[in-house]
């Protein structure tokens, strides 16, 4: 309330304030993902803007570029989108069915935000692929993807592990591992046409 009173006092800045506030919130959560500590920010103030931005970015970069490679190729934009969201929903349902006390959207929020390291990996891979192809190229990409994959797992485990009953933690974490593994595989095997 105090913040709203301050913002209405400034001339000409009332309408962009909610947008800036939302962007700042999203940026703050990105920082929380990149430096995972035991904090409740992601869970308490969940939002789905960050996951949406990340998912769209990832899907745009992963889609196959030419139309004639319909038969066997990389995923389409819609396929990546469906995999990310459908996978996140399945993992959330799984953790709720196992008796976790995390809400549906909080879990979606955490899983979506923890794709950030993999999106960074995708950007790096795209840049590396501009150089000449070869085994060294592949090794660099493999190393980057493995590091970012581990980062994603650590980040999401830091947020999600506490909400599970202690004797079922591994059961709830394994689908997260599988999810990020599949996304890492899609990133690693991306070949530009």
């Amino acid at each position: 309330m105090a913040k709203a009173a301050e913002s209405s006092g400034e001339p000409g800045t009332t309408s962009p304030r909610p947008l800036m506030r939302d962007l700042k919130a999203v940026g703050k959560k990105f920082m929380h993902v990149l430096y995972p500590r035991k904090s409740n920010t992601l869970l308490r103030d969940w939002d789905l803007w960050g996951p949406l931005i990340l998912c769209v970015t990832l899907a745009l970069m992963l889609q196959r570029s030419s139309v004639d490679s319909e038969k066997d190729g990389g995923p389409q934009f819609a396929e990546v989108f469906v995999i990310v969201w459908f996978g996140a929903v399945t993992i959330t349902l799984n953790s709720k069915l196992l008796g976790g006390n995390i809400s549906f959207f909080q879990s979606l929020c955490v899983l979506g935000y923890c794709i950030l390291p993999l999106t960074v990996a995708m950007l790096v891979c795209r840049l590396v692929l501009l150089a000449e192809q070869g085994p060294i190229n592949f090794m660099v990409r493999l190393f980057v993807v493995i590091v970012m994959f581990t980062w994603s797992i650590v980040a999401s485990t830091a947020f999600l592990a506490d909400s599970q009953p202690p004797n079922r933690k591994a059961l709830a974490i394994y689908p997260v591992f599988l999810f990020y593994f599949v996304i890492s595989w899609m990133i690693l095997t991306f070949t530009p046409q």
């Binding site: 990389g74 799984n94 069915l97 059961l171 394994y174 599988l178 095997t189």
Partner: protein, 386 residues
């Protein structure tokens, strides 16, 4: 109670019919397209009509049987419950009568949560002599289980009903996986590990892992086989993931369904000692597929002999788990039918593994011959191009 009341349904129907009728009488396209416009609207009308009629039929005729169906597929096998059923049959006699008189009342909310400790206490007593308890007729024990309540006593549209299928701890899942990898003769997988607590976690996630393991290993293996060829352009073959998912999930759910139906049918003809619920069969099949995950990863090795040895080992392990599980369920039956059942189970399993190997993994040796003859030409051409 029915999810949607009939009045709402009828008004929805009238609303949609009105909309479609107005669309019919004012075709949006002119000239020669009128025929297609009318047929499109007619098709929509027929589809909506069909959907609404089916929903009405479902509400008024199928709802109650479906409720009972969901109770039946979640029930424990007759042998376990017979001892407890003796104790509880008189208690629920009145409840059964009242449930039959009131078609509107749900038959599932008869016993409260206090009943389950009684069941838990009843189980250790009953487990010793389960083989002899089947002298009860199967129909009686079925009704007893239906009314005497199991742990899955919530209606099937609530979240708690599905939570009972995920009531496993980490060590239990590991034990079940270990049990599927080390089939001990004489030890029944269901009796030893599942013990009337079938879970859906194991089958679902083992199938998911297997889908990705096969798709990724197939892709990797093809890449390694064609590595030296100049004409080969690597593609991730993303379509194969959806094909693998369809095959494996269909196998893991439809084959247990068919087997369960078949065993129920044989149960009605011949009194069998052991009978399994649908979820227990799904559980056995799901856990028996676990051996194929390391097998799929090892199939990357591009040697035909290695691959076929792996097929034999995996088939031996999982086939014996399945055979040892289902042999007690059919051994009281006609000899030929029992043997035919076991052979069919193993045969379908073989078909799955060989089919996956053939479709997702390219044959290793065939491709080396063209490479050997083409390589000199290519190097010559490359030398000329320079």
């Amino acid at each position: 109670m029915e999810p949607l009341d009939p009045l709402g349904l009828v008004s929805l129907y009238l609303l949609l019919s009105g909309y479609l009728y107005t669309d019919l009488s004012h075709p949006t396209k002119e000239g020669g397209k009128e025929n297609s416009t009318i047929s499109n609207a007619e098709t929509r009308f027929v589809c909506v009509y069909f959907i609404l009629v089916s929903y009405e039929v479902y509400l008024f005729f199928l709802f109650r049987p479906l409720q009972n169906f969901f109770l039946i597929i979640g029930r424990r096998p007759a042998g376990w419950m017979a001892a407890v059923g003796d104790l509880q049959f008189e208690e629920f006699g009145n409840a059964a009568a009242t449930a039959a008189e009131n078609p509107g009342a749900t038959t599932i909310s008869i016993e409260g949560p206090g009943e389950s400790p009684a069941h838990q206490a009843g189980l250790p007593r009953g487990s010793g002599g389960e083989e002899d308890d089947e002298l009860l007729g199967n129909d009686d024990s079925d009704k007893t289980e239906l009314l005497a309540g199991q742990k899955k006593s919530s209606p099937f549209w609530t979240f708690e009903y599905y939570q009972t299928f995920f009531d496993v701890d980490t060590y239990q899942v590991f034990d079940r996986i270990k049990g599927s990898l080390l089939p001990i003769p004489g030890k029944n997988f269901v009796r030893l590990y599942i013990r009337s607590n079938p879970d859906l976690y194991g089958p679902f996630w083992i199938c998911a892992t297997l889908v990705f393991a096969i798709a990724i290993s197939g892709n990797l293996s093809n890449f390694l086989i064609h590595l030296g060829e100049k004409t080969y352009h690597y593609v991730p073959e993303f379509r194969k993931v959806s094909i693998a998912a369809t095959i494996i999930y269909a196998y893991a759910w439809l084959v247990p369904l068919a087997l369960w139906g078949f065993l129920m049918w044989r149960n009605s003809k011949v009194m069998n000692i052991v009978s399994y619920s649908f979820l227990e069969i799904v559980c056995v099949y799901g856990y028996s597929l676990f051996i194929y995950i390391p097998t799929a990863v090892l199939w990357i090795i591009p040697q035909k002999a290695v691959r076929w040895i792996l097929v034999m080992i995996a088939l031996g392990v999982s086939g014996s788990v399945l055979a040892m599980t289902f042999w007690p369920a059919v051994r009281e039956d006609n000899r030929r039918i029992a043997l035919a059942t076991i052979v069919t189970i193993v045969l379908l399993h073989t078909l799955l593994s060989v089919g996956c190997l053939a479709y997702f993994f390219d044959a290793p040796e065939m491709d080396h011959l063209p490479t050997a003859t083409a390589a000199p030409n290519q190097t010559v051409a490359a030398a000329k191009a320079r």
